[in-house]
């Protein structure tokens, strides 16, 4: 080691704060270098004198009464509030309780919001209408076999059922016709040919198309602006949800105002 490097570490060496390896290197250097040995002696003497000088600070004053009077003596004075404020544990105890209460309220509100969001997935009412000229069945239907669907689309009155509304983003990505054309019912339910022969004994296979009516219940009021025909979706926080409902309502507005029919090929 060079003298410059040793000098940089002499203070820590004198304090015994160096590692074994570095300490040994410096020790070997000092054993050979007279200059560094003198410097080390000077540092040690300085340390000794420093300890001596700092060891005589004089008598310590007795401040116990003063501090105790500040802590508890002047209870009846206006300092009472200060004393209460600095009592151990009191200051933070109230804040901790408040923070815990705030956290509980936050967690509860988050749970409520998440549940309400889940319930906002409004069901879609789907009505399957038979062809307009389809005759009314007169046959007495047999009790359905086990596992067979009980819905009877062959009857003249419309069949209604509900389905959960897909998530709005899915709704945006996929066309609504695709969603409706999903096999919500067994395919045989739509096809009059596949119905039991005793139920369709006096019926002819309809030639016209079947109609599926989809009604989407939305807690919203249509905006009065007829130009845009958009829907004010109050109560829905997400923009994507708003866009989804807007898309639905736009299609509704462009079709018939009262009833919305999508024709599907079966």
């Amino acid at each position: 080691m060079r003298c410059v490097e040793v000098c940089a570490c002499l203070s820590a060496y004198a304090d015994g704060e160096l590692g074994m390896c570095k300490r040994a290197k410096i020790w070997f250097h000092i054993a050979r270098c007279n200059n560094c040995t003198k410097k080390l002696a000077l540092i040690r003497l300085l340390q000794l004198q420093t300890v001596r000088a700092l060891s005589e600070p004089g008598d310590a004053p007795d401040l116990t009464d003063l501090v105790m009077s500040r802590l508890s003596g002047d209870v009846e004075t206006s300092r009472q509030t200060d004393i209460e404020a600095i009592r151990p544990g009191r200051k933070w105890a109230g804040r901790r309780v408040t923070a815990a209460a705030v956290m509980v309220v936050l967690i509860c509100s988050m749970l409520v919001v998440s549940r309400s969001n889940r319930s906002e997935r409004s069901p879609v009412m789907i009505t399957v209408l038979p062809p307009a000229k389809a005759p009314v069945t007169k046959a007495i239907p047999k009790p359905p076999a086990s596992g067979q669907q009980t819905v009877a689309p062959m009857k003249s009155k419309p069949v209604q059922f509900t389905a959960a509304l897909p998530k709005p983003d899915r709704l945006v990505k996929r066309r609504i016709g695709n969603i409706i054309s999903k096999p919500l019912l067994p395919k045989s339910a739509y096809k009059p040919e596949s119905a039991p022969p005793d139920q369709v004994a006096e019926t002819k296979a309809p030639t016209s198309e079947w109609v599926v009516v989809v009604s989407v219940p939305v807690k919203a009021e249509p905006v009065a602006n007829a130009d845009t025909a958009e829907v004010n979706t109050t109560g829905h926080s997400s923009d994507s949800r708003k866009r989804a409902y807007d898309a639905v309502f736009k299609e509704v507005a462009e079709s018939e105002p009262a009833e919305h029919n999508w024709r599907i090929d079966l």
Binding site: K38, L54, K91
Partner: protein, 182 residues
């Protein structure tokens, strides 16, 4: 004789007067530490009051009541550092230029041996406060670099550098003193 832990538990239970026992036990140590760092008696007395009032208000936060003195010592050092850091930012002190050590001639050593304690005291009092803190904590409180670093919230190598520079400044002042004497 009650231990610190027992006294602290009683104080936390509402016996404020028991805090007097803790003060009697440690106020001298707190005063000496503050006086050595701040170098002014009035400031040290103010620091003692501040430290014990703060310790009382934070007593519930003392994680190890059995180690009350290290906890109070940290409060004391922080109180002292806060007092002088308003005047001298420690960054400026750490960025001081390095100078070479005095030669360490035998003359210097002899002079230093003859130097009165009062003179050394003056030299130490003339040091920047950040240096005085590490000197007091190292040579009076006998703490390691790591412990000092934990107390003043810095790194051990910063402590080593400050001690190194403090000693260098003292050695340079000694040279000036030697010139004046000889």
């Amino acid at each position: 004789m009650c231990t610190d832990e027992q006294i602290i538990r009683r104080v936390l239970d509402g016996c404020i007067d028991d805090y007097r026992a803790l003060m009697d036990r440690y106020q001298s140590a707190v005063f000496y530490l503050a006086y050595r760092i701040l170098n002014r008696r009035e400031d040290a007395e103010d620091a003692v009051q501040e430290v014990f009032i703060k310790a009382y208000s934070k007593l519930a936060d003392c994680r190890e009541p059995g180690k009350f003195w290290p906890w109070v010592r940290k409060i004391t050092v922080n109180a002292c550092v806060r007092r002088f850091s308003r005047e001298t930012p420690t960054d400026e002190i750490d960025n001081l230029c390095e100078t070479d050590w005095p030669s360490g001639d035998p003359v210097q050593t002899e002079v230093l041996q003859k130097v009165q304690t009062a003179e050394v005291k003056k030299m130490i009092a003339g040091l920047p406060e950040a240096y005085r803190v590490v000197i007091v904590l190292r040579y009076i409180e006998d703490l390691s670099y790591k412990e000092i670093a934990g107390l003043i919230d810095t790194q051990p190598h910063t402590v080593a550098a400050r001690l190194h520079r403090a000693k260098k400044i003292l050695a340079e002042r000694l040279v000036v003193f030697e010139d004046a004497v000889c």
